[in-house]
Amino acid sequence: MDAFILQILNGLDKGSAYALIALGLTLIFGTLGVVNFAHGALFMIGAFVAVTMQKVLNLSTELVDPTKKDFLGNPLMVKTPYVENWFGESAGQFIINWSVPLSILAAIPIMLAIGFIMERGLIRHFYKRPHADQILVTFGLAIVLQEIVKAFFGANPIQTPAPDALNGVVNMGAWLNMSLSYPLWRIVYFCFAAIIIFGVFAFLQFTTFGMVVRAGMADRETVGLLGINIDKRFTIMFAIAASVAGLAGVMYAPINPPNYHWGMDFLVLSFVVVVVGGMGSLPGAVLAGFLLGILESFASTTWATTTIPGINQIIIYLVAIIILLTRPRGLMGRKGVMEE
């Protein structure tokens, strides 16, 4: 029973990342009709905002300590972060320790700006082009972005730990008399993802801006004829989708050390999630994200891997095939999307 619940939690946790990325992808596809293969790169850039914040907060003064030696036997250069000099040692260490949550504050404007520049500078020129062109150009952009990140940060993964207060495990099964220890940061991540998903749905459902966007998604031309600048709103939605992916990346950084290739690692899975959920369906993307995350977790159990060797490697694609054969539009796909 413990193992079962732990795998559910793992699945929800993985699914959170898939759902957040797929949500952004679907937002962009639903509003602009663009298949954005650079969306995984936005997730990766978000994680590197956290890495950059950590590096900035660790900018240091260097002083020679003659009592210590470096690897060549020379006096060691001891580093003291500026924040420790400015705010005192304990306050400085506290700030550095909380660099990932602090990164959220930086990531929102940065990702909005990147999304805005991306859409205005490149994507909008491909609105009326075939999907194949959009895929090629956004895939190319993804490669350019990852190479830029690699040029600055290298190819090696970079540890970006969670604050000490949110590290370690919590025993979630104490009241059930079970041993259900689960990493605290992963629970934080799930809660964060739930808030973001709820926030996006609430924004679209309960604001005038969201209502116009939804109307534009249903019938772009009619909304335009009403004198509403729908393009401007869709540009903002693109920037919001970029922020969602970026924030997902920031919070994922303590789970796995970020590397430049993250975007590609998550991109294919996220597209499978979008297709399974139904192209253009926001609830479908979220549902499929969690569903595939849970299935992937269960397929990795000892029982599953010994019963059907290799099932852990194919489960997501197997489910995608079954769903597309039985429900060609995906779980919650709308009629007419990508069917012309």
Binding site: L72, G154, V169, P183, I255, S297, T301, N312
Partner: protein, 449 residues
């Protein structure tokens, strides 16, 4: 219609002409094409094939730094590095056989096909007489095969799978780096000493050739000392989050987790295992332990604090206290501002070993070089006493068992040496079943003539 008339004079003339024609290549071109890419001018070109893009690009960059340093030292520039400590005194700092050493570089991308293409280009277009480098066994086996066909020498870089000098061994290929069997043979006694002989191990294994041979070797060594292998789960190479593989470990009754992962896989799986607090758990009345059979400095940097207390093995570590190592660390450190990694050291040693073999053989002919390297005993390149075994072209030397340091003082001493396992303990028969058995042979040397 013309009529073909044969007479005795004509037949003799024709036979002589045909005979002369057939003899031509051996009379006039034997020296011109004695072997592939025979250096004609005053330079000799070496090909450095390392990952410059892809996940191991940082490791490749480190290898390239070491290779460039080796070329510098061979040409008599810099402080001479390990030419000062190398027990063979054939190298004089005047290039190789009096020819200045030049180099070209290729990008393996850590993909076998790309690595073969770049090696082929360096051999055919740039005239490289030797290919060195790489950070993957798949790449090493592929490039080694190419070099064998092309008639040039392959001095492998970082390749740890048994197969490189096992079932896929080639006469033109040489490996200085240690292998999975050696890791297991070195680790097993330390694991027994620290964890006892009554342990239950759960393996997570990267699903490709290196992972399989690593797991096979570790399981064989640990089972021989009494451990039980509870399970071995193959994980896809593209895995990023290992949480769903970690949680079954908690309910498996295992008290040791062996991570047969390398690079990003290892960084992620170890980080996830630490997140689930495995190292603070008690199973079967014992403290839970994690083992990472193959460490590298870059992996240690990527894993950060998570490696604290975790045991593994290495081919070389800059903290080794011997003259060759001290000299290499000084040369590398003063030039690049950081200590060398074990992949850098193996590439540096391989370039010097090739150059030395050419000097001792008096030729760049691959078959002469092979003869000079086979059974060659040396010291002074950083690993202590080392020997290139004739039967499989594998180097035999001490193996390091290391542990993630609890209190590192700098970014470079995150790993501490626990034990230097003597060569005898990691030596095996050339026809060992894990290395292809009696069927595995080097074949014959190919000079490309």
């Amino acid at each position: 219609m013309s009529k073909l008339i044969f007479n005795r004079r004509g037949l003799i003339k024709s036979t002589a002409a045909v005979g002369a024609g057939l003899a031509m290549p051996t009379i006039f071109s034997r020296n011109a094409w004695a072997y592939t890419n025979e250096p004609k001018g005053d330079t000799v070109t070496l090909g450095f094939n390392v990952p410059q893009t892809g996940p191991y690009a940082d490791e490749g960059a480190d290898e390239l730094l070491a290779q460039k340093l080796a070329v510098e030292h061979l040409n008599g520039e810099g402080d001479g590095g390990c030419l000062n400590t190398f027990t063979s005194k054939a190298l004089k700092g005047n290039g190789i056989l009096g020819k200045k050493v030049a180099y070209v570089t290729g990008d393996t991308q850590t993909k076998s096909d790309a690595a073969r293409a770049s090696a082929k280009s360096m051999i055919e277009k740039d005239g490289a007489v030797m290919i060195n480098g790489g950070s993957s066994s798949g790449v090493a086996v592929a490039v080694q095969g190419l070099c064998q066909e092309a008639g040039v020498i392959f001095m492998a870089g970082l390749t740890h799978a048994n197969d490189t000098t096992g079932k896929d061994r080639k006469a033109n290929g040489f490996r200085h780096f240690f292998n999975a069997y050696m890791s297991a043979a070195a680790l097993a006694p330390v694991l027994e000493k620290e964890m006892g002989s009554d342990r239950r191990a759960y393996h997570l294994t990267a699903d490709y050739n290196w992972g399989w041979t690593q797991q096979e070797s570790i399981a064989a060594s640990t089972e021989a000392m009494g451990w039980e292998t509870v399970n071995n789960v193959l994980t896809p190479l593209a895995s990023t989050d290992f949480s769903s593989y970690i949680t079954p470990v908690l309910n498996s009754g295992a008290d040791v987790l062996v991570l047969n992962h390398y690079g990003g896989n290892m960084v992620n799986s170890l980080s996830n295992a630490i997140q689930f607090d495995l190292l603070n758990k008690q199973v079967n009345g014992k403290d839970f332990k994690i083992v990472v059979p193959l460490y590298s400095e870059l992996m240690a940097a990527g894993a950060g604090d998570n490696i604290k207390g975790v045991l593994g093995s290495m081919n070389y570590n800059w903290q080794l206290d011997n003259e060759g190592s001290k000299q290499f660390v000084k040369s590398f450190g003063e030039k690049y501002g950081k200590p060398p990694s074990n992949s850098a050291q193996t590439c540096y040693a391989q370039v010097l070993l090739y150059a030395d073999a050419c000097e001792r053989a008096g030729t760049f002919n691959p078959c002469g070089v092979v003869e000079a390297l086979e059974g060659f005993d040396f010291d002074g390149l950083g690993n202590g006493k080392t020997s290139y075994r004739k039967e499989d072209h594998q180097c035999f030397k001490d193996v390091l068992v290391v542990r993630g340091a609890e209190n590192p003082t700098t970014a470079y001493d995150t790993l501490e040496i626990v034990e230097i396992t003597p060569t005898e303990q990691v030596t095996y028969a050339p026809d060992h079943p894990l290395f292809g058995g009696p069927e595995a042979t080097l074949g014959t040397c190919n000079s490309g003539a």
